[in-house]
Every structure is written in C-alpha cells, then in structure tokens.
C-alpha cells in the first residue's frame, strides 16, 4: 500500500468539474473510494472464479485476466498464443501526462505488454478480462496494458469489464494501442460492471500510415462510467471507425469522450454513439475532432443519437470540430428524442401491442450499434445482455 501518499496529493491526480473536459462528470465518489482504499483497503481480493469461468465459457478468446489490476496467470489462456508476445510491462514506460493516466502510473502494481507480430484476424480474439472485486473494504484498481502491432500485423481484441463484491470499487484503466504501418485492429470494449461500482477507462490509439482501427464500445453497467477514447492519426491513409452504445438507468452516469487528432491526411475518422436513457440517469457524449494544419484530405464524421425513455433522464451531447486544414470533409449530427410515434402506430396496426411495439423499437435503436460492433461472435452475448438490461429498466420505470 502506498501509505506515503497524502490525501492532498491523491486529490491532485483527479480532474475536477472546473476542467472543461470534466464539467459534467463528478469524481468525488471515486476520490472518496481512493482515500478509503489508501487508508484501509487491499487489492488482495479473491478473484470471482465463477464470473471468470462464465465469461470464458461464453466467448472463445485468448484470455488475459487482469484481476484488480494484476495479471491472473492461472486463469489466463492467452499467454502462449501464436503470433503474439505477452510480457510484463516495465515500470519505466513513457508517461501520459493527463490526470487519470498519472493516477494509473502512480498506483499501478501490474501492467502487461502485448506485441502482435502476425496477421491473426482470422483467429480467435485476444481477450482482456478486466475483472475487479471489492469485499470487506472499498478498493481502487489500476489496469494497465500496452499493445503494439508490428507492420501489417492484425488482431482482434475484446476489452471486457466486469466486477463483483458488496463494497465500493473504483477502476481506473489505461490502455495504449499503437498500430504500425498497415496494421489492423478490431477492438470491442464491453463494460458490464456491477451497478454500484465506478470506472474511468482510457484508450489511447496511435495510427501510422495505412493502418486501420474498428472500435465498438458498449456500456451497460457501473454507477459512474467515463470512457476516454483518444485517437492520433499519425500517418496518411489511416482509417478509424468507432461506434458506441450506452444504456443507463436510475443512478447511472455514463460519459463518453472521444478525441481524434488528424495530424496528416488523407485519413478517415467516423463515429456514431447511441444512448438509451431511462429513469433518473445521465449521459454525456463529447466528440472532438481536430484537423491539424496540413491534414488535407481528412474525412471526419460524428454522430450521436439519444433515446430518452424518461423525462428525468438527461443527456449532454457536444460535437466539437476544430479545423485548421483546407481540404476537409467534416460533418456532425446530434439528436435527442423519444420513440417515433409513427413507427409505434405502424407496428400496432400490424397487431403488436403497445408495450411490445415500444420494446421492439427500443431494441432496434440499440441493435444497429451492436450489429456494427467488431467481434461478431460476441454479438449474441452482448445482444442478450442489452436485452436483459433493457428489460430490467423497463420493469423499473
């Protein structure tokens, strides 16, 4: 335990509501958890073996299990996988100078490095199972992964977040993903944490010439969930496609911040996030695209659509385009609304009762993102979890 860290120093590692990027997301709860963990907590929590087994049974992947921030070797099936090298991350990896990344650097006790050498797109995905638990005392954990793809290497990844335990938990993960020229990644982040746990998760991506990222991010769980997806387009002809879905019910706060730096052109970034908000819930979507000077031929598209099932739910949606180049194609669109009355009437006229028609339309709104997500073999599992979550929310509202 890092007992030498004072509470003042700890609080300085967190952004506050005064920071422009954090004005809608209050981290006072994670800070309190971090303080209690410093005082009395421990990361030596027994991992939830049943949960690990059920996920491994549901999805065939080369699993690398990270339990409360530490590699759980005994449960990991992906340490000897063909075409990749997995090692422990040394403590002197380059720093990322943003507050929560600093927090991760300061408190992480584990860390994994994955190098992809070959094209293994047609093989099973590499699964990062970020599993946390808190029993007996509040716990803070710091998962940390560095992924490098060699030139022309390709792989599929699942970043799967779950948690259990009655006490409070705060997870702050930091993942770096660097794609060398002509490398390719399909990446699915699925956040299905316990509803009383909180998380902040950062994925920093760097795309070199001709490389390609397809990303899908799905958030169902967590009391507070904040995702930062930062993509640096560092080489021409790179393509980044990323879509997201968040489903929130009473007491949940889900914040997605994306930022794409188009440093060179031509290159493409294309994102669509969708949210379904029910009860007293809140979501934030902030999509920033910066087209730097000289990045001609940039094509940056942003869309965010929200379905508000309750008058008490709230969305703060903000597209931000900063363009310093001449020849660019950029567009954004944001919508907030209820179910389409015309579609509801149409379905009822075909014999579906009102509640079923509403369910069908709500699921259809979510399904378009799930269907577009990478790792097709997980669509059924995710579709079922989305369905289950929507049913819970429907029952509660």
């Amino acid at each position: 335990m890092s007992g030498a860290v004072s509470k003042i120093e700890l609080a300085a590692s967190f952004p506050t509501l005064r920071d422009e990027d954090w004005k809608y997301t209050d981290l006072s709860r994670p800070i309190a958890i971090a303080q209690q963990w410093l005082d009395s907590g421990s990361n030596e929590q027994p991992p939830d073996a049943d949960l690990i087994d059920s996920i491994k049974a549901a999805a065939d992947a080369a699993w690398i299990v990270i339990a409360n921030g530490e590699l759980l070797e005994a449960s990991s099936t992906g340490l000897q996988e063909a075409g990749i090298e997995v090692s422990l991350l040394s403590s002197d990896e380059p720093a990322i100078d943003v507050p929560l990344a600093n927090l991760n650097t300061q408190f992480r006790t584990g860390g994994i490095r994955i190098r992809v050498i070959e094209d293994r797109l047609d093989q099973r995905p590499i699964g990062l199972l970020v599993i946390d638990s808190a029993a007996g005392a509040p716990v803070m954990s710091q998962a940390r992964v560095d992924i490098e793809l060699d030139e022309r290497a390709a792989a599929r990844f699942i970043e799967y977040h779950v948690s259990s335990g009655d006490d409070e938990h705060y997870s702050n993960s930091l993942i770096r993903l660097n794609l060398a020229a002509d490398a390719s990644v399909e990446y699915l982040r699925f956040q299905d944490r316990a509803l009383h746990h909180s998380q902040t998760a950062r994925l920093n991506v760097r795309l070199e010439r001709g490389s390609r990222l397809t990303h899908g991010g799905i958030d169902l769980g967590g009391r507070l969930s904040r995702n930062d997806l930062k993509i640096d387009i560092a080489g021409p002809d790179a393509v980044a496609t990323f879509n997201g879905l968040y489903v929130a019910g009473t007491g949940q706060h889900i914040d997605n911040h994306t930022r794409v730096d188009h440093r060179v052109g031509p290159a493409v970034s294309d994102q669509e996030y969708r949210g379904i908000l029910s009860g007293r819930s809140r979501a934030v979507w902030n999509g920033k695209a910066i087209v730097h000077r000289g990045a001609d031929g940039t094509d940056a598209q942003q869309a965010n659509h929200n379905l508000l099932l309750s008058e008490r739910s709230e969305i703060d949606a903000k597209p931000e385009l900063e363009i310093y180049a001449d020849e660019v194609k950029c567009a954004h669109g944001t919508t907030v609304g209820q179910l389409d009355e015309r579609a509801l009437f149409y379905l009822r006229c075909r014999g579906l009762d009102e509640s079923r028609a509403k369910r069908v339309l709500t699921r259809a709104f979510a399904a378009t993102i799930v269907e577009r997500a990478p790792i097709a073999e997980l669509h059924e599992l995710i579709g079922e979890r989305v369905e289950q979550r929507l049913r819970e929310l429907g029952d509660a509202s």
């Binding site: 149409y346 009822r348 006229c349 009102e354 028609a357 339309l361």
Partner: protein, 250 residues
C-alpha cells in the same frame, strides 16, 4: 362487415369528417375518392385507430362490434388491415421479424399456434413471388432504404400474409410507376374473396383501371357527396371534383 353511421371526427380544432355514413359488405370492393383535404385519409386512420383523431359523434361497427372501443392492435388482430400511404422506415427491425410477429399476434388472438419457421418462409416466398419481390427483402430493415414502389409492395405483402377481413389501402397507388402499380393491383386482386372486403382510398382513377370496384364514393367536405358504380370514377376523371361539390351544394 363495416357499418359507419354519421361519423364526426376532429383533429385539433378542425372537424374533418362531418357526418359520414358508409356500409361495406363482405366480398365488396369500395373506392373512396375525393380531392385533397376531403377526409379520405382521416377515414382510413380512424378505422385503424389512430389516437390523434377524436370521434365526436357517430358509430363504427365492424362485424357487429363497436370498433371504436378497440385499440389499434386489437383491430388488426380482429382482421382490419391499413395499408399506409407513407409506410414507416424502421431500421433495426427486420422485415421477416415484423411479418412473423404480426402473423403470430393474429394467430394467438384466434387461439392458433405460432407459425412454424419453415411454413412461414414458404408462405412469405410464395407471396413475394406474386408481387415480384426479391426474397432478400425479408432480411432487410422494415422499409429501410426501400424505393416508393418497394414500400407499397411491402404493404401489399403484409396484407397478403395477414389475410385481413377488411383491407383499407390508403393512396396505395401514389408514387408508383406502371409496373409497380400493376404488381400492386395484382396482389390486391389475388385477395378478392367472398368473405373479404377492400376499401381503396385514392385521389386518381388510374388504380381503378386495374382493380375494378363494386362501388365508388366521392368524399367532399367530410361527407360522402355521391355514390355510384365504377362509371362514377370515369365521370369524375372527366368532370373533376368541383362538379361533385357543386352538385352536393346545389
């Protein structure tokens, strides 16, 4: 089958139907014509159960029961089908899913078992062949990215699958080229049966060249101004709607 008496309907502050009466028997095909704003589409929507329209007076009885008491989905299961003037696009809901859900909702209501998956596909393919529709439409989102003609064919496909007792086709001919019009008409004609009634709501006489009605009614200012056989449609085509209004007011 359908008996409408002195029906008065408002939407917002305006009265659209002002005492409309109409009787449709099994086996009959009725065409309801009239200028824009005469209340044709309102009539179709009220029969289907659209909640924006308020019935202030009159009765609508379907197979002897009070239709106005029923929710739209109950009317559908009882055998009423509305073919929409503007079929709604529903991305994320697969066409086959909707067809099957609609069919099973009706079957369940009538105490029948759910349709078996193979039987369903066989039936859908048969009906699609009649309408000249590619089977791949089954796996697309409902009306998603369909052309105008494809949307109307899709409405007729749903009707053919559901085999309603009373079909109301609201401006099904609008926006169709001649091939689509013929295909749609063929689909409708295939459904003509002694135990089924069809109401065609249309602005133009053109559709009636392909689907021959037993009766033609002309709506004007929220009432049926004139009724007759198919020759009335031809007369209308020649003399225009102004003629009916003048005759009604005279």
């Amino acid at each position: 089958m359908l008996n409408i008496e002195n029906l008065k309907v408002t939407i917002g502050d305006s009265e659209i139907l002002r005492g409309l009466s109409l009787s449709v028997k099994a086996g009959e095909v009725h065409a309801i014509m009239g200028p824009n704003g005469s209340g044709k589409s309102t009539l179709a929507s009220v029969i289907a159960g659209h909640e924006d329209y308020v019935v202030t007076d009159g009765t609508v009885r379907f197979k002897g029961a009070d239709l106005l008491e029923l929710e739209p989905e109950e009317r559908a299961r009882e055998g009423i089908f509305l073919g929409f003037q503007y079929p709604v696009e529903i991305p994320g809901v697969n066409n086959a899913y909707l067809l099957k859900a609609a069919l099973n909702a009706k079957r369940e209501h009538h105490g029948l078992e759910e349709i078996d998956a193979f039987e369903f596909l066989k039936l859908a393919r048969e009906k699609m062949a009649v309408l000249g529709m590619d089977p791949k439409f089954l796996n697309r989102g409902v009306n998603e990215g369909f052309s105008g003609g494809e949307k109307k064919r899709n409405e007729i496909l749903q009707m053919a699958m559901l085999e309603p007792d009373l079909a109301i086709l609201d401006e099904t001919d609008s926006g169709l080229d001649i091939d689509a019009l013929k295909a749609v008409a063929e689909g409708v004609n295939a459904l003509r049966a002694p135990d089924r009634a069809i109401i065609l709501v249309t602005h133009y006489q053109r559709l009636l060249d392909y689907i021959e009605p037993d009766y033609v009614h002309v709506l004007s200012e929220g009432r049926i101004a004139r009724s007759g056989d198919k020759t009335l449609a031809l007369e209308l085509e020649e003399k225009g709607y102004e003629w009916v209004r003048e005759a009604a007011n005279a």
